[in-house]
Structure formats: C-alpha cells, structure tokens
C-alpha cells in the first residue's frame, strides 16, 4: 500500500512539474471568462474565442492600454481610441476619419461591441479581415490611419519602461511582437459587450415601452412595413445584425464595390455588412460612407429613397416607388423604437475608459 501511494505521489509531482516547466518562475496569467449576458445566453450561440488566445485578466488589461495608446502610430499622435471612442460606442462622429497624416479613408468608422458574436468573424464593412486578431494588425500600418510599421512599433514597445513587464505578465514573455500585440487588443475588444439597452430591459421584464416604441417595434417586425428583422436581428437575436453582406439600395451606380472588391464576384458589388442597430444614438453618421447624418435620413431612405441596381437585396421592396412609403407616424415610431436599442450603461462603463 505504501509503495503504491509513494509511487502515485511521485508521479503526480512529476506531472505537475513537467507541465509548468517553462514558466517555472514566471507570473501565471489568470483566466477571465467573458460575462455572457442573459439574453445572449438564452437566445444565441456562444461567442467565438480562439483556443490560442483565451481571455486573461492581464491580457485584457494590456489590450486596453494598447488600444488607448498613441504609441501604435508612426508619430505617436493617434490611438485606436481616436477613431473608436467610448462615448460613441467606439466609433467616431466624423464621416471619414482622418489618419495621422490628415488623409481621409473612404469609409465611416465602425462601432465596436459584441464583436465576439460575429460568428463568421468577417470584419470591416466589406469583410476583408478574418478574425479580430487579424483585424488589429491592419490599422497600425494603414497609411490613412496610424501609418506605422510593425518593426517600428515593436521596437518602441520593447524600449518602453512598462510594456515588457506587462507582456511578461500576460503572455509569459517580455519579447514583444505584433502577434502578441494583436492578441491583447483582441482580448480587450471581446470584453466590449453591450446588453443593457432599454429594449433589453423590456425583454427581461425590467421596464416597459411606450405605445410609440412598441408600435415602432411592430413596424420593424412587419414584412409589409419596416421588414428590418430579416437583416437586423429581433427580440430573439440580441445582436441586432445578421453580420451578413447586403446591398440595401443606396446607389444606382455603385462606386465603392464593397464585398465585391474582396470576392471578385460582381454579384457582390455594393454589398456591405449589416451594422448592428444597437447604440444608434451615439454612432451617427450612418452607412459605410457615413452619408446619412440622422436616423430620419436613414428611415426616409428605406421608406422612399431606395435605388435599384442589379445587386440590390430582394428584401428591398417596391423599389420602383423608392420603398413602402411609411406614414409620418410610423416613421416617428420606428425611430423611437430604434433609440430603445441604445445602451447608456455601455458608454458609461468604467471598465472601458482610458487606463
């Protein structure tokens, strides 16, 4: 009996040692599970978290620091947060954002929340980047954005008084490279969860809606009027987007090919990813090119401004008349409903402010 015990004991110790061998004297980062909101848990699939980049307290906090740090840009003037500001649900108020050289891109900045629930993991308006980790590679070297090179950024971070230690804590190595930078940023981005709008609280039975807001929701769900739910979520899909690419009838002649430029398939020309309708109160202007300043403009577009083109989505109806022509009352109610999807707790969340 004794020999057995000793044997098992030794075996056990040996296993433990060999597992943690490499990090024997290093700081071990602490796992941090995403807090999945109840409506998400009840209604939709689990978020996407890659096996090789699990969430940790140290990783998230490092990612947050990087997200707010202009060190990622060539001349140390621009952080991710400049175009993705908390008070705007992590987008900005410009039609086109200017990069470090004052040059403008051709697309409106995108809000950042609930990104871990983008199951297809296609990011940007045209879906050209697969995975959040990969997406985070791109702004740093984009000449219209942070205009830097990764070699330069890695070097600056390596020379920094704090970063090497923070990477050590998060990833067990103080040798900084672009892969670890993007992993940390992606971890932080996955924590940006928005789930406390008035409508969420209504669904949870914690508040009630006005008659106008309820009517607005019915218009949203009514195939003969708004018919927004086929692309923009519903009471059963709290993301308020399908994360799929469509042409929603903005132009007759398509200049920005969107998805079509990525796939090379003309049938995809003019298709862009449906944005989430959460947080519209903070995310103007709207559409991939920020052409609409207000929600009234957006609603008028769907109601009577639709433009035909070969790739326009079949769900855009009565295109010859510009749309279904909602009544003024229906338009006002639809807008009132859309605004119930805005989450004031999200934009005031102290976990998301600059460290």
């Amino acid at each position: 009996m004794k020999t057995w015990n000793t044997y098992i004991y030794i075996l056990f110790i040996f296993t433990c040692i060999s597992c943690s061998n490499e990090k024997i004297e290093t700081y071990v980062s602490k796992p941090s599970l995403l807090q999945i909101p109840k409506l998400f848990e009840d209604n939709i699939l689990a978020p996407v978290i890659p096996n090789n980049n699990l969430q940790t307290i140290e990783g998230i906090s490092l990612g947050k620091k990087l997200f707010f740090d202009p060190i990622l840009s060539a001349n140390n003037t621009q952080a991710c947060a400049d175009c993705h500001a908390l008070e705007n649900a992590f987008t900005d108020t410009d039609r086109f954002s200017d990069g470090i050289n004052g040059a403008f891109g051709k697309r409106n900045s995108m809000p950042l929340f609930n990104l871990a629930w983008n199951y297809d993991e296609k990011f940007f308006w045209d879906g050209r980047s697969f995975s959040l980790e990969h997406q985070a590679f791109l702004p740093v070297t984009d000449p219209n954005e942070m205009g830097s090179t990764w070699i330069q950024v890695e070097e600056k971070l390596q020379q920094h008084p704090e970063y090497p230690e923070l990477f050590q804590q998060a990833f067990g190595t103080s040798t900084i490279d672009s892969t670890l930078v993007t992993k940390a940023i992606a971890q932080f981005e996955r924590t940006l969860i928005s789930s406390n709008s008035k409508f969420d609280k209504y669904l949870l039975g914690e508040t009630s809606l006005t008659a106008e807001e309820l009517n607005g929701f019915n218009i949203f769900m009514d195939e003969t009027r708004g018919d927004c739910f086929h692309c923009h979520g519903s009471d059963k899909n709290p993301l308020w987007t399908d994360n799929i690419f469509h042409n929603n009838g903005l132009d007759t002649v398509i200049t920005d090919l969107g998805l079509g430029a990525i796939t090379g398939d003309p049938a995809d020309n003019g298709k862009f990813k449906s944005p989430s309708l959460r947080n519209l109160a903070f995310t103007a202007p709207y559409m991939h090119d920020g052409r609409f300043k207000t929600l009234n403009d957006v609603i008028n577009h769907y109601s009577e401004g639709l433009k035909n083109s070969t790739t326009i989505d079949p769900l855009m109806k009565k295109v010859a008349q510009g749309g279904v022509h909602l009544t003024p009352q229906d338009k006002a109610d639809l807008k009132a409903f859309l605004l119930t999807l805005s989450d004031y707790e999200f934009i005031n969340n102290l976990n998301f402010i600059k460290p």
């Binding site: 009996m1 209604n43 939709i44 769900m221 899909n237 035909n308 079949p314 769900l315 010859a320």
Partner: protein, 255 residues
C-alpha cells in the same frame, strides 16, 4: 489494495454499462441524407446563383440569390408500423453550401423499412415549444405577430417583371396565419415528405432531389408579378406554397 480493486471494478462496470444501451442484438448504423437540387432536371448549386437564367412555369425569367430551408423529424417506419424518429433538425443552406448533408445522431438497426420520411419545416410542437439558439443566431425566426416560431424556407432572387424591370422576390414559407379578423386563424403548412421504402445498410446514404422549379409550378402556376414580396403575412400565398411544395422532393433511385 482493496480500495484499488474496488475502483477497478467500478471502472469496469461503468465501461460495460455504457455499451449496454445499444445491446439489443441487431447491428446499428447512422444514415445520411444528401440534399441535391435541380431546376427541372438541370443540376443547381450556389454556383448557379445570381444570374437570371431560369424560366418559371408562368414564363418569368428569374434568378435565385438565397435558398435555405429546414427539415426535421426524420422518421423510419418498420414494416410492422413501428416508427423510429431520429433526433435533430437540419437547416439546408444552399447559399453557403453548408449542411447539404445531414447525419442524425440517432443510430438505427439495419434492415428494410417501409418508409423513410421527414418533415419540411417544423411541426407545431417543435416550432413553438423550443428556443433554438442556432436558428436564432442565423435570424430564422418568425415575428411574434405572425405567431412566432421559425421560417420553413427562404427562397429569394430576382425576376423580370411585366414592365421588363428586374425586381426582387422573397418566397418565404411559414405556418399560414390569417391576421385579418379579430382572432388569428392558423393553418398548418409543414408537410411530410415520404421517400418510400428503403433498405438501411451500414452508413447508408440517401440522395434526395429537390426540383426548385416545382415551387412555382404545380398545382398553382406562380405569378411573381403579383406574388413577389410580403408573402409571410399572406395567408392564401402560404397555402399555395404549401400545395406547391408537395412535389418538390424526391428520393433519387439508387443506381
């Protein structure tokens, strides 16, 4: 040492008892259903999407830009009338070329069955008494105002209308509901697709042929000029779709 023996015995017991369930002498297997599509016998895949190249029974030239539909309740009936219902449902997504093949997890005894059938859509129990996170995630729901539950099919595309304009259509099938009166009136539109007698051998695969043109043909010659959109709340349109659906599915004879 006694302790260890005890543990060993427990383990052994567990291993044996795991196998127990399936131990009714006969050999079991999983079956696979493959969904193949055609337009009046011309093979159809998502490579044929988006181009106006098909002519429906009413003479409109048309294209398909989206096609997905739900099947559930795969059932095998033994010659003695006993039925085995296989767990699960499958959203066939032709647009993304996914789930064109469905292997239910329930294993069934080999042998001859008097019929293999499945439900197009969901029966009412499956439709209303469950919240399917996977289907919600792909926006497959039906609005509460139309009774809730789920779509059965979404078929979308373009056609040339009688003013020669390229126009969209959204042929979505759901359980029919008439909202015009004081109370909602429902009529079932899910239906059983019976593929007839089958012999199940090890890992049998059944090729099911779906003729998309049938949705526009028989018994109702579909006029897209009048019925192209807003069909979910259109009770009569839903009944016609239900009728036309009856002849779309066939089991491909085994060559």
């Amino acid at each position: 040492m006694k302790r260890i023996n005890f543990i060993l015995i427990t383990c052994l017991f567990t291993v044996i008892s795991c196998n127990n369930d399936n131990d009714d002498q006969s050999e079991r297997t999983n079956i696979t259903l493959n969904f193949n599509h055609n337009w009046d016998e011309t093979p159809f895949t998502n490579a044929n999407f988006n181009t106006i190249q098909y002519t429906n029974a009413n003479g409109e030239e048309m294209s398909i830009t989206k096609l997905r539909y739900l099947i559930s309740n795969v059932t095998l009936t033994k010659p003695n009338g006993e039925t085995i219902v296989l767990d699960g449902y499958n959203l066939v997504d032709v647009t993304n070329n996914t789930d064109l093949s469905f292997t239910p997890i329930t294993a069934i005894p080999l042998g001859v069955y008097s019929s293999l059938s499945f439900t197009f859509g969901f029966n009412n129990d499956a439709n209303y008494n469950n919240n399917y996170t996977d289907l919600n995630s792909v926006s497959w729901n039906v609005p509460e105002a139309l009774g809730g539950g789920y779509h059965y099919m979404q078929l979308e595309g373009k056609f040339i209308d009688n003013t020669s304009t390229e126009t969209g259509y959204a042929y979505h099938t759901i359980r029919a509901v008439n909202n015009s009166g004081a109370i909602q009136v429902f009529q079932d539109t899910f239906f059983e697709v019976n593929l007839g007698e089958v012999t199940v051998s090890n890992n049998s695969t059944f090729d099911i042929e779906i003729n998309i043109a049938e949705w526009f043909k028989n018994p109702n010659t579909w006029d897209l000029n009048t019925l192209n959109n807003m069909l979910m709340p259109n009770f009569d349109a839903q009944i016609m779709m239900f009728e036309n659906g009856q002849n779309t599915f066939n089991l491909k004879p085994i060559q």
